[in-house]
């Protein structure tokens, strides 16, 4: 990476249709790019493979949440009805895994949902209200009907003029340099 790239975030290029951007993404992947992204108004089927992305890590956080929730449900009911204030109800055992099962079940789902919801935002590095892309006039249209490939300057393949020409050769429409 050279000196003049320091104030440059990357190069953006718009595409007209899902199939255009899909095939362009395959070529970017094959050229060995690592730090780049495809901005689309909706998730395009098969784009993860076209970009060469690994499987999302959200399920791990869901599992973590679910296990935490189940243990919380067990401990909550055991501590409250059996340890801190043992409650005699119908002469039955103070705690068993059967009677508070609905509580454990709901806690499992609740915490797994927290894991999924917050996990998704953490993995996506959100909330983040400022990003160099937001200064780009074309970027606003990527939530409507425009598709955009962004090659970032942090990638080792990045060279301003070459990357620009590379995007043009992929059939891109409008090429813009994104400044930090």
């Amino acid at each position: 990476m050279n000196e003049r790239n320091e104030s440059i975030h990357g190069v953006a290029c718009t595409f007209r249709s899902p199939s255009d951007v899909f095939h362009a993404a395959e070529k970017v992947r094959d050229a060995g790019w690592k730090i780049w992204d495809v901005h689309t108004p909706f998730p395009i089927h098969g784009m993860d493979q076209a970009m060469g992305l690994p499987r999302s890590k959200v399920p791990r956080l869901t599992l973590l949440g679910g296990v935490t929730g189940f243990i919380t449900g067990c401990l909550l009911t055991w501590y409250m009805n059996s340890y801190d204030y043992p409650l005699v109800v119908g002469g039955k055992p103070f705690w068993s895994p059967i009677f508070p099962f609905p509580i454990m079940y709901e806690c499992t789902i609740l915490f797994a949902a927290f894991g999924t919801f917050f996990g998704q935002f953490i993995l996506n590095r959100l909330p983040r209200h400022h990003h160099p892309l937001f200064d780009l006039p074309q970027f606003a249209r990527t939530s409507d009907d425009t598709f955009m490939i962004v090659l970032e300057a942090r990638d080792k393949n990045f060279h301003l003029d070459e990357s620009r020409n590379f995007l043009l050769s992929l059939g891109g429409q409008e090429i813009t340099v994104i400044r930090e």
Partner: protein, 469 residues
């Protein structure tokens, strides 16, 4: 077909001679609408100046909601005696209304979660509004048990929080399970709804012209950029939340039915309750979805996005679940007769022919008979009639809960302690007002949030397929 160059081995030879027809598939979006049209349509609802009908309806809804406020104020300042609850009927309208509203919410989760897992693409058009309906219906439902506890300022004792008495909730009680089930349901539904909305909020943010609009939607959209690295996590999280909501929604109404089924009262103590309650919940919820969506479709001219195919599907689900509910009514009678239990037999004969027979037959005619009209295509295509039938279903499902709750309590084991329950004006005010409260929330949703999930609707259009050309 005729000029296929060579017969490949995996292609049956006959296909070249018979020229098979393309099976017509119902279109999800009519008139080949493009991505930009969808964005314009949905964002346009939020961006247009507040229409007159909205202002008028909102004012009326606020006025109706004030009835709940008045009812609750009178209740709290005077005491629970102002409700029609007398021994032997300790569960009156409050529980009826609670189950009614929670049940309505279930269709939203069915559409957003179960139909997502079943890959029913038509769900996208109605998904967002149905989920909003879920959340607001659960809010309405929550009011009733909250105030039914009597001293509402102690309602927090229901939660596992330390209090000055040093005691804890009793986790053997189905009512305590209900606290966990309903609050989990509300939380998870809200998370699912909001997460699904973030990309669409980003789309509204990107189009915003005025400063306040930009600020408002920027905060809500959390800086969503729609990069595929984000979509990848988003889609996985969406699928997982759908997978979590499915067992959740089934458990919620199961646990609601446990409130009844775990007791020893004839007519309540039956194992059919969980599936019967869940089917009824989905039945009433779909009726409410249609009740809300048909007028909105007409007002905002959404005919291309919510077309006859969607309405047909919803009508058929109402028909199927209505028939299941009717089957459950019949099974209850059969099991009561077959059980050899005199109290159980009496409870059911009494439901149909006793002092509440009027309520029972309203329930049967609205829930079992009216949805059968949806067998006919002509009726499914007559949207005014569909809307009216859905109103009947809503009424019928309220009466179902009334019949279950009140008839069993009014005439249980000892004839000396039988009674007759009537609501008071305070009950009526409180319930009537919840429709206003629900409408206020729903109107705010329609006005300020994306009514249709734009990204999801775009995803199911034919041009979204990257291999289309």
């Amino acid at each position: 077909m005729a000029h296929a160059p060579e017969h490949s081995t995996d292609r049956p030879e006959i296909l070249d001679r018979v020229n098979p027809a393309e099976l017509p598939r119902s279109k999800l979006i009519l008139n080949d609408r493009g991505f930009h049209w969808i964005t314009d349509k949905v964002c346009g609802i939020v961006e247009e100046p507040t229409p007159l009908w909205w202002k008028v309806t909102f004012a009326v809804a606020l006025f109706i909601a004030s009835f709940t406020g008045a009812g609750l104020f009178y209740l709290v300042s005077t005491g629970t005696g102002t409700w029609g609850l007398r021994s032997p009927i300790g569960w009156g309208w409050a529980i009826v209304n609670f189950v009614f509203w929670v049940g309505i919410g279930h269709a939203g989760t069915l559409i957003s979660a179960i139909l997502c897992l079943l890959r029913q693409k038509w769900r996208t058009s109605i998904n967002r509004a149905a989920e909003a309906m879920t959340i607001f219906a659960v809010m309405c439902a929550g009011i009733f048990p909250l105030f039914h506890v009597g001293r509402v300022w102690f309602a927090w004792w229901l939660f596992p929080l330390p209090n000055q008495n040093g005691i804890w909730p009793q986790f053997r009680s189905p009512l305590e399970w209900d606290v966990f089930a309903v609050s989990t349901y509300f939380t998870v539904s809200t998370l699912f709804w909001y997460m699904g909305m973030v990309p669409d909020l980003g789309a509204i943010r990107d189009r915003a012209k005025t400063w306040w609009r930009k600020a408002f939607y920027s905060v809500l959209a959390l800086g969503w950029r729609g990069g595929n690295r984000q979509w990848s996590n988003f889609e996985m999280a969406y699928l997982l939340l759908a997978g979590l909501s499915t067992p959740l929604v089934l458990s919620v109404h199961t646990i609601v039915s446990f409130d009844f089924a775990v007791s020893n009262v004839p007519g309540w103590h039956t194992t059919i309750f969980p599936p019967y309650f869940v089917a009824g919940a989905i039945f009433s919820g779909f009726a409410m979805v249609l009740t809300l969506m048909l007028p909105l479709r007409a007002i905002y001219r959404l005919h291309d996005v919510i077309n006859q195919y969607h309405i047909d599907n919803m009508c058929k689900i109402i028909l199927a679940t209505g028939t299941m509910v009717g089957y459950a009514y019949a099974t209850e009678f059969f099991i009561a007769a077959y059980s050899g239990n005199a109290y159980e037999k009496f409870a059911f004969v009494n439901r149909a022919f006793g002092q509440y027979a009027w309520a029972y037959w309203i329930m049967v005619s609205c829930n079992v008979i009216t949805p059968q009209l949806f067998w006919f295509k002509k009726i499914r295509e007559n949207h005014a009639l569909v809307w009216i039938i859905c109103l009947f279903v809503n009424v019928g499902m309220w009466f179902e809960r009334f019949v279950i709750t009140v008839t069993s309590l009014a005439n249980d084991y000892l004839p000396s302690s039988w009674g007759y329950y009537s609501p008071t004006i305070v009950d009526i005010f409180t319930f009537f007002g919840t429709f206003g409260f629900f409408s206020v929330l729903f109107l705010l949703f329609v006005r300020f949030l994306p009514l249709l999930p734009m990204a999801e609707v775009k995803m199911v259009t034919p041009q979204a397929d990257p291999h289309a050309h």
